[in-house]
């Protein structure tokens, strides 16, 4: 693990991506607090191009685009991380169980995964969101929980995205467990009388760290992209909240040849590209650091081509 970390930091692409990602994360979490709260409310300056007062211009309702962008970035971060979290929980548990018990249990569980790969996930996602987001809102109103009313739809969205993204994780984890479960340290734990749960969580899970990290680093950006797709369909995050997806959908609608309000599309797109670029680069670096222990040596070899 230490070697893994060392190899990661030696890669300049990894360092740059981490800095960019941290910059986005920090500005989305504290940036809005530094700005005037009124900037997020509808104002008299509608669809103004970038000025000294509004650095990124304003939108259709006169809201400051920078402020909206920070809100959107924060929501997209939350959706991406929470969605990946759900997929991590489900996928890892499933993979651990299938790999550990093996035999017909493993066979059955993996055939189920195979079949689920053939189900159009979009359909499942839409049914979940469209059927239950109303109910969650009503439930929140009935119980008087304002946070549930406010965040209920986003929670359903996150749950749906996570529940449709865990298949690959389950496969990877299962494969790793299969190769780990007869190792000496697992035998030793078993010999001391440790229960199944303890062995899986204490001894096997920590050894999966790298693979899970590599897989999660791909899940986060794909969940964020899925959310933008749902926003385009009008099923993503709803106003007054914003996500990068809703901002992009609004911006794409504002593109026309007569009066091009380019800033409405350009800044959200730039933010999304920065975010996904750094996430994907980090994922690449994880993969390289895991798979190519002799990277320096190989580079020499490849130079010949």
């Amino acid at each position: 693990m230490r070697e893994f970390r060392k190899r990661l930091w030696r890669d300049w692409k990894f360092r740059v991506s981490v800095v960019v990602l941290l910059g986005l994360l920090i500005s989305s979490s504290v940036g809005m607090e530094l700005m005037d709260k009124a900037a997020g409310e509808p104002g008299p300056m509608q669809q103004s191009p970038p000025t000294m007062e509004h650095w990124f211009g304003t939108d259709l309702n006169g809201r400051d685009l920078l402020y909206r962008l920070l809100v959107g970035l924060r929501v997209s971060f939350l959706v991406g991380l929470a969605g990946a979290g759900v997929s991590f929980l489900v996928g890892t548990t499933y993979g651990l169980i299938a790999g550990w018990f093996g035999g017909w249990i493993d066979n059955l569980m993996m055939r189920i995964v195979d079949i689920l790969y053939s189900v159009p996930r979009l359909v499942f996602l839409l049914i979940l969101i469209h059927s239950f987001s109303e109910q969650v809102g009503e439930l929140g109103a009935a119980l008087g929980w304002s946070w549930l009313q406010r965040w209920g739809k986003v929670m359903i969205l996150v749950l749906g995205l996570g529940l449709t993204e865990w298949l690959t994780m389950a496969r990877i984890v299962r494969g790793q467990v299969l190769s780990l479960k007869w190792r000496a340290f697992v035998e030793a734990a078993r010999a001391t009388g440790a229960g199944v749960g303890l062995i899986l969580i204490r001894h096997i899970l920590p050894n999966l760290g790298g693979v899970i990290l590599a897989s999660l680093s791909l899940t986060v950006p794909s969940v964020i992209l899925d959310e933008t797709f749902l926003s385009f369909l009008g099923l993503g995050v709803e106003a007054p909240l914003a996500s990068l997806g809703t901002l992009l959908a609004d911006g794409a609608a504002a593109i026309n040849p007569i009066r091009s309000r380019w800033w409405l599309l350009f800044f959200p797109a730039a933010a999304l590209v920065l975010l996904l670029f750094s996430l994907y680069t980090i994922a690449d670096c994880f993969r390289d650091a895991l798979a190519k222990p002799l990277l320096a040596e190989k580079k020499v070899n490849k130079k010949k081509f």
Partner: protein, 311 residues
């Protein structure tokens, strides 16, 4: 020979089983989820609703509906759409699917040829300027949703340059922008897959043997290494076909193409269970057939893959 036939029979049975399960899952999901096909702002009188349910064969216990539906599907009758009144799902699909399939096939060819070429060149010129540029643009294409890419392409090629029409359907030039919009993100993904696969392949022993034998770089890269390096790409072709089918909804909306992609979304939103069933059958059939083809191609490319081994 006997084993090959046996293998084929087993494959077909597996395919049919997967389709059966997927159709069942969708049927129960859409029927059990809250909300029905005839819900509207105003509540329908009970009698009318009962008559409607009877007409669309949505009455009786759920398991009975399910069995009758399966029987109809096996007979090739996908039933009536509950949203587009008095039109059968067969008819709706027959009108829209050719457009979507044409668009998808064009995009598919673009993805495979463009993606593989870019990926192979990147791997060949590993670490060089071409490699860096290709991978930069690949990452850019993956990071932009197609509903952002589409309007940008329209702005540049239709409004500024005036080369291609904004939307519509019927002539070949109508196909160019939609196909490119649909293909670009997947092309980028395939380019990345190809590059990774080729880099691994170029490390293998047989490449060194080839060099020792005095083969040129081009022959090694394009003939020998590609056979192994493309295995991951070939495995991705099944999911790719499925992604292109569902991904076509954005492109069809942007370019005003009356295709079938939108049914994936609107049949769910309208609770149009039978239309949903129809598109799911198409989706699943496409995926299953492509996966079987992929299985075959993999076997030809890499004879070491035995008939029982799962990839």
């Amino acid at each position: 020979m006997v084993s090959v036939v046996w293998h084929l029979i087993r494959k077909v049975a597996e395919m049919l089983f997967v389709m059966f399960v997927v159709v069942s899952i969708t049927f129960f999901l859409i029927r059990l989820a809250p909300g029905g096909p005839f819900d509207s702002e105003r509540k329908l009188p009970a009698e009318i609703e009962r008559a409607l349910l009877k007409k669309y064969k949505l009455d009786g216990p759920l398991w009975e509906q399910y069995l009758y539906y399966l029987r109809d599907v096996v007979r090739g009758d996908l039933r009536l759409s509950t949203k587009y009144r008095n039109r059968s799902v067969n008819e709706l699909l027959a009108q829209t699917l050719p457009l979507t399939m044409g668009l998808g096939l064009t995009a598919f060819l673009l993805v495979v040829t463009g993606g593989v070429t870019l990926g192979v060149i990147s791997a060949w010129k590993y670490g060089g300027l071409m490699d860096a540029l290709a991978m930069f643009f690949a990452l850019l294409a993956i990071s932009l949703p197609s509903f952002v890419l589409g309007p940008i392409l329209i702005l540049v090629f239709s409004f500024w340059l005036g080369w291609l029409p904004v939307g519509g359907w019927g002539e070949l030039q109508h196909l160019v922008l939609p196909a490119i919009t649909l293909a670009l993100p997947y092309m980028a993904y395939v380019a990345r897959l190809t590059r990774a696969g080729m880099l691994d392949a170029l490390e293998m022993e047989f490449v060194r043997t080839g060099r020792a034998k005095g083969l040129s770089d081009a022959v090694i890269v394009w003939k020998h290494a590609m056979r192994v390096g493309l295995l991951p790409v070939v495995s991705y072709l099944g999911p790719l076909a499925a992604h292109l089918l569902t991904g076509s909804i954005v492109v069809e909306t942007l370019f005003n193409i009356p295709g079938a992609g939108g049914f994936f979304v609107y049949s769910v939103l309208n609770r149009d269970g039978f239309l949903l069933g129809g598109v799911v059958i198409v989706y699943c059939g496409l995926l299953v057939v492509f996966n079987a083809l992929v299985d075959l191609i993999l076997r030809i490319l890499d004879p070491r893959i035995s008939s029982d081994e799962r990839i």
